[in-house]
Subunit: 220 residues, 2 copies
DNA sequence: GTGAAAACTTACCACTTGGTAAGTAAATCG
DNA sequence: CGATTTACTTACCAAGTGGTAAGTTTTCAC
């Protein structure tokens, strides 16, 4: 665990502080996202980090305060990952495709990030309110994009919010629902992932593209 | 909490035992499904039930043994709920539609059931192996059904397992991902649920139905 | 009816939990 | 340099955790 996080042995004090908080947030995000918030104690976190629990409580006054910080971090990273795809070149389907590819990449390389969002949704209350607020600008951008594509006749006309949720949970499910995949006889190997992504893209294309499509190209 | 579970004041001893275990499983399923396994202590459960923690440990030797029992119960109830839909009358799309409607109904009326399956998937290990095993017969039936529909040209040809996962996570997402829905401006009221289900059905129809469809009727 | 098994409860325990208080070595500032 | 702030650690605690041991009452077999 806790690899690729620089050791706190150089730089100014302020820089070192920031580096420590960064390490804690990174490890906390990974643990909360994979094991769940309640399943990870501050002692567990501290042990992973090679520090004491009280060091964590020095930077944040309580475990809940830490959770909020992790939420902000997760939302920030999610936006970084996905928002770029919305600004990329290409129109209509090819842009959607690039978003899906990106989600897949994130789901493969950093499953804890998407797992964490789901975990937060389940916790509910202040936590999910916070993640909602954090992600609001991105959601707005995506919705506006969808509406424009619908106006242009490249995406089937429908409720853009629901389309977003459908696409989101479809991709998230296919990317992260490892146990379910296993249940239907799909081993989550790297090779099968490529196949899965292609199949999913054509699933989404069929669902989203406008009937008499003006898209540049259908997926193969 | 814990409503509609009969009080243990009559019947034979064996019947009373079974009734008690039933009550415990019901409350445990609800709590584990909504709050998560680790977030619910045996004391919490016992308090909800109006018994002592040791009464639970009398029926199952440990919390993990209880979890396994809850898994079996959840899988059983899921199969009861969904398997019937696969046997219903109607062919092609109308059958898929009835399954989706049923999932929606379950997601609305018993969110803890689907939440629990998701929770188990996250726990991983023996637990998810068990749920996989429990659900295997149903998955097989669904897969066989999909394949037959593809052969008949009523459903777009693709990997049936992945189609199942895609449909599963799409429906599950739209039905349970309340916070995400809220994030995109969809309040989960009862009225909006009807709209959401209709939109989702047309999303799925577009994704699943064969291009030149031989289906009895397209969804409205 | 009587002995035994079943279905509990009360009492208890070692361990973990989030969190506080007090101390300490190092960096920063005057 | 000396005082103070920063970034921690060691020591500790009350509450809660899953689980054991030993009763106690009710039901059942005979």
């Amino acid at each position: 665990m806790a690899l690729a996080v620089s050791s706190p042995t150089k730089g100014s004090r302020a820089a070192r502080t920031k580096a420590t908080e960064d390490r804690i947030l990174t490890v906390a995000l990974e643990s909360f996202g994979t094991k769940g918030f309640d399943s990870v104690s501050l002692d567990d976190l501290a042990a992973d980090l090679g520090i004491t629990k009280q060091a964590i409580l020095y930077h944040w006054p309580s475990k809940l305060a830490l959770l909020n910080a992790v939420i902000d971090r997760a939302a920030f990273e999610l936006i970084i990952e996905f928002d770029g795809a919305l600004s990329e070149d290409g129109s209509g389907w090819s842009r959607v495709e690039s978003v899906v590819r990106r989600i897949f990449r994130v789901a493969m390389r950093r499953p804890e990030l998407l797992g964490f969002i789901r975990e937060i949704s389940r916790i509910g209350g202040d936590a999910s309110l916070r993640v909602t607020t954090d992600l609001e600008p991105f959601v707005t951008r995506a919705t506006v994009y969808f509406e424009r594509e619908m106006d242009a006749g490249r995406i089937r006309r429908c409720n853009p919010g629901l389309l977003l949720v459908s696409a989101y949970s479809t991709v998230l499910g296919a990317a992260t629902e490892v146990e379910v995949l296993r249940a239907v006889g799909i081993e989550p190997t790297l090779r099968s992932t490529v196949v899965r992504r292609r199949e999913l893209l054509s699933f989404l294309y069929a669902a989203m593209a406008a009937p008499e499509s003006k898209n540049d190209q259908a997926p193969r």
